[in-house]
């Protein structure tokens, strides 16, 4: 029974543990309710079958029972609601100070990943744009600025327990902090057309050293020649679709890494 026969994928994010414990709490509560109700149902069916009893009780109900079985579930559910509300607020409404900010834009049928580069600003010369390849450092708060070029997509990383729809014409911020280096899939979770199935990116979570190495490869320190493998995306190309999309904040993220050159 630990997590419904061990079906949950391993959790790798900070808030994932909180979601999992809430899931287990609900699982235990509903399991108790399930066995109590279905058990009682079976007992009644056997005990009061036509062959075993002569004449049914003539009863129209019991007000005290009605009050009990209205208030008890109400109390449990309201407590559950407020417990969930706390976790929801911390995950969705309180954005921690981001260490890294990445723009992710859905398009039929890829995730467009935009890195700000060393200047920490989007839509500048040192931006790096790539499809489906998202790289972040471990144990850092990663802010994802989600948008879409066409239809609604949903950014889903099962092991991180994060799911957030990406909308055209709007920028939505989400965040995560992964505590285990590894490669995780980013499926699109919202039906987005005939290529919806198979639309996925990879989230590569790197150790500090590996991340610093990757950053140096992408953006060679000042002095060396601009690397050919770091295409600088012109600002116009990277802008999210829709004229209502807000311009990126002028004072954004810190530089993408701790071991930041220059």
């Amino acid at each position: 029974m630990q997590d419904l026969l061990g079906a949950l994928p391993p959790n790798v994010s900070t808030y994932g543990a909180r979601i999992d414990s809430l899931y287990h709490l609900i699982l235990y509560i509903t399991a108790i309710a399930f066995f109590a109700v279905e058990g009682l149902l079976i007992v009644f069916l056997v005990r009061y079958r036509a062959g075993a009893s002569k004449r049914a009780k003539y009863s129209h109900g019991n007000t005290r029972l009605e009050i009990i079985w209205t208030t008890v579930p109400a109390l449990i559910l309201v407590i559950l609601g407020f417990t969930s509300a706390g976790a929801w607020r911390d995950i969705k409404m309180k954005m921690p100070t981001p260490d890294v900010t990445i723009m992710v834009t859905g398009k039929q049928f890829n995730w467009e990943i935009l890195y700000a580069g060393p200047d920490g600003k989007f839509h500048t010369e040192d931006d790096y744009q790539v499809d489906n390849d998202m790289r972040v450092p471990v144990n850092k708060n990663v802010r994802v600025m989600l948008s879409s070029h066409d239809v609604i997509h949903s950014f889903f990383v099962p092991q991180v327990r994060l799911k957030q729809d990406a909308l055209p014409g709007r920028e939505i911020q989400a965040w995560f902090n992964v505590n285990t280096p590894g490669v995780y899939e980013i499926p699109c979770a919202e039906l987005c057309g005939f290529g919806h199935s198979g639309m996925k990116g990879t989230l590569t979570v790197l150790s500090d050293a590996d991340y610093a190495k990757w950053v140096t490869e992408q953006w060679p320190p000042a002095g060396s020649a601009p690397a050919a493998d770091a295409p600088a995306a012109p600002a116009g190309d990277a802008a999210p679709a829709g004229d209502t999309a807000p311009a990126p904040a002028p004072t954004p993220s810190q530089p993408p890494a701790t071991g930041q050159p220059s």
Binding site: Y23, V37, F44, K57, E66, L77, F156, Q159, G198
Partner: protein, 592 residues
């Protein structure tokens, strides 16, 4: 038969054609009983197609991108050399859900049993507006024809999911003047909109009729709180339809305008907003869920009381909890949108209202248990289906709590957990309610009994395969398996779960095949079943006082007078264990 002495019957001009011709009797009938039967057959007919589409979806999930047997007749571009295209896959699950919801569950629960039962159970000769009633059915047929024909237009049927989220279901006009049709579906999506607008008109006509009939045409003595719970449930359902459907109709019209005449209600480039569709759709869509489950709750309540030979436990609590569900049903729509980008604070409010709506549902379950407690339970086929309804609804209700908790929903939203949940409510709930109702009222509807042996076999196999099909979907969902994907094998993290997809598909094929037994039983009994007596279940409600077969005008010369509530089973006032609502007792005893 009613005759000139009875002005009530005359008001409808009923006996003017007491022996109408075949056409007036079976086709353009204004008799509520015939219209009820017509809705039943419309629903069962559609169920064949909705079910077959589910089978094809299941094949694809278990053995992705392999050749489907028996599909050689389906032309390109849907099937290419018996391989299903991803676009066709999307159309199949979209139309499976659309047909099952709008052309199976609603026509049967609301259309068939609403029409058949309301006049009979409140002691009226017909609906308030018989012609409107006939019109409601035939407009519904028109909607079904439009919906089914959408497979025949170029580009195929709608493929943006039964929820048809914009802008996937829309036509996007880019800033540079290019046009992007993101779903690849052309007229199919337009026909989807038109069909549901037409169906909305049909349902609106029906609901106005139900409300008027129940308010105005109850027999003498049939006070509101002597109405059977199934009538309460249909009354509340009709009010929900009246209030929720116009919102869907408006949203559909807006989507149709976006697609055809260039408006931008849901397109950000033109100043519209993509999430507005979701708000409008779910403002209708959540009450819709209760439209599909409330009548089944009413049906289960009546059947449980009848076969427990016991009054329903907490009649008033049952009626008020349905009203509570109906009211709260209008303020929980946002729980479908927790991850949509809606303000998280709003999500929190919707979480609390969603937790609250679970309470009246729990109250109903406890009262059903209370009804069984101390009863003298007869395990007839309708009773078994009603018990299955209760036990499956418990699972569907409890699994809903996982989604209600917003943080957990972050993980399980748009996964198979949701698919499991909706099927436990709509198959485990509504469809077991449908089976219970068909087995229970068949004797009154068609004057014959259904075959018991086939009924038991059908029930046990359906119950078994239903659970084998849908329970493992919870596990898939908890494993992160997204819904609406064409090939799970494209995802590394889903590979270890694929054996469940195979298991589910095999179970689903068995579940589908089992329904052939139901069809055989239905048609065989229709012509060869044992003739039914007037009141085979020894039930109390008024429809069993009407003769079988029930004539035009239902109750013969005089309408029944109601002396008591519908659930006076095992009353100490009489030696037998049932006491019909319309039987006068010496001393004028009128309990409850």
């Amino acid at each position: 038969m009613a005759n000139a002495v009875h002005p009530a019957a005359h008001a409808h001009g009923h006996d003017a054609h007491a022996h109408p011709g075949f056409f007036r009797h079976y086709v353009f009938s204004t008799d509520h009983k015939m219209i009820g039967r017509q809705f039943l057959f419309l629903g069962l007919f559609s169920m064949i197609f909705g079910g077959l589409m589910a089978m094809m979806v299941r094949w694809e999930l278990a053995w992705p991108e392999t050749q489907l047997p028996l599909t050689g007749w389906i032309p390109e571009p849907y099937m290419v050399d018996r391989y299903m295209t991803p676009a066709f896959y999307n159309q199949l699950f979209t139309m499976h859900a659309t047909i099952m919801i709008f052309f199976v569950v609603m026509p049967i629960l609301v259309g068939a049993f609403g029409n058949f039962l309301i006049p009979l159970m409140i002691g009226a000769r017909d609906m308030a507006f018989p012609l409107l009633n006939a019109l409601s059915f035939w407009v519904g047929v028109l909607a079904a024809i439009i919906m089914f024909s959408s497979f025949l237009v170029p580009g195929g049927a709608a493929g943006a999911g039964w929820t048809s989220y914009t802008p996937l279901s829309d036509i996007i006009r880019n800033a540079d003047g290019t046009i992007n049709n993101p779903s690849g579906v052309d007229w199919g999506q337009n026909l989807w909109c038109i069909s549901l607008i037409v169906l909305g008109i049909s349902s609106l006509m029906g609901s106005i009729n139900y409300i008027t009939t129940i308010i105005n045409m109850r027999a003498p003595g049939m006070t509101f709180f002597r109405m059977p719970l199934v009538i309460w449930s249909l009354f509340i359902t009709a009010i929900l339809l009246l209030l929720a459907l116009p919102v869907l109709t408006s949203a559909l019209a807006m989507l149709l305008f976006d697609r055809t005449i260039g408006t931008s209600f849901f397109l950000p480039l033109g100043g519209g907003h993509v999430i507005m569709w979701q708000h409008l759709f779910w403002f209708f869509g959540h009450p819709e869920v209760y439209i599909m489950i409330l009548p089944a709750m009413g049906i289960a309540s009546d059947i449980l009381a009848t076969f427990s030979r016991k009054p329903i436990f907490g009649y008033h609590a049952m009626a008020f909890s349905m009203m509570g569900i109906a009211f709260l049903g209008f303020i929980v729509w946002g729980h479908h949108m927790f991850q949509s980008g809606m303000n998280p604070a709003l999500g929190m409010a919707f979480m609390i209202s969603t937790m609250v709506i679970a309470v009246p549902s729990a109250v109903k379950v406890f009262n059903w248990l209370g009804t069984l407690w101390g009863g003298r339970i007869q395990f007839t086929v309708p009773m078994l289906n009603a018990i299955a309804f209760v036990s499956m609804f418990v699972i569907g209700g409890l699994s809903g709590i996982f989604m209600a908790a917003t943080p957990v929903d972050m993980f399980i939203h748009d996964t198979y957990f949701i698919v499991a949940h909706i099927h436990y409510v709509l198959f485990g709930g509504s469809l077991f309610g449908v089976f219970a109702a068909v087995y229970y009222w068949f004797p009154k509807m068609f004057g014959r009994m259904m075959n018991n042996t086939l009924g038991y076999i059908h029930f046990f196999l359906t119950f078994l395969f239903f659970n084998l099909t849908f329970f493992p979907m919870h596990l898939l969902g908890v494993g992160g398996h997204m819904r609406r994907i064409y090939n799970p094998m494209q995802y590394d993290f889903l590979h270890p779960l694929q054996h469940w997809n195979v298991f589910i598909t095999v179970s689903a094929f068995c579940l589908g095949s089992t329904q052939i037994l139901f069809a055989i039983n239905l048609f065989w009994s229709l012509f060869k079943g044992k003739p039914a007596e007037r009141n085979p279940w020894k039930a109390n409600t008024l429809e069993w006082s009407a003769p079988t077969p029930t004539p035009h005008g239902n109750f013969g010369d005089t309408l029944p007078t109601v002396y008591r509530g519908p659930y006076e089973y095992s009353s100490p006032d009489v030696p037998e264990d049932w006491l019909p609502q319309d039987r006068a007792l010496a001393g004028g005893k009128a309990s409850h």
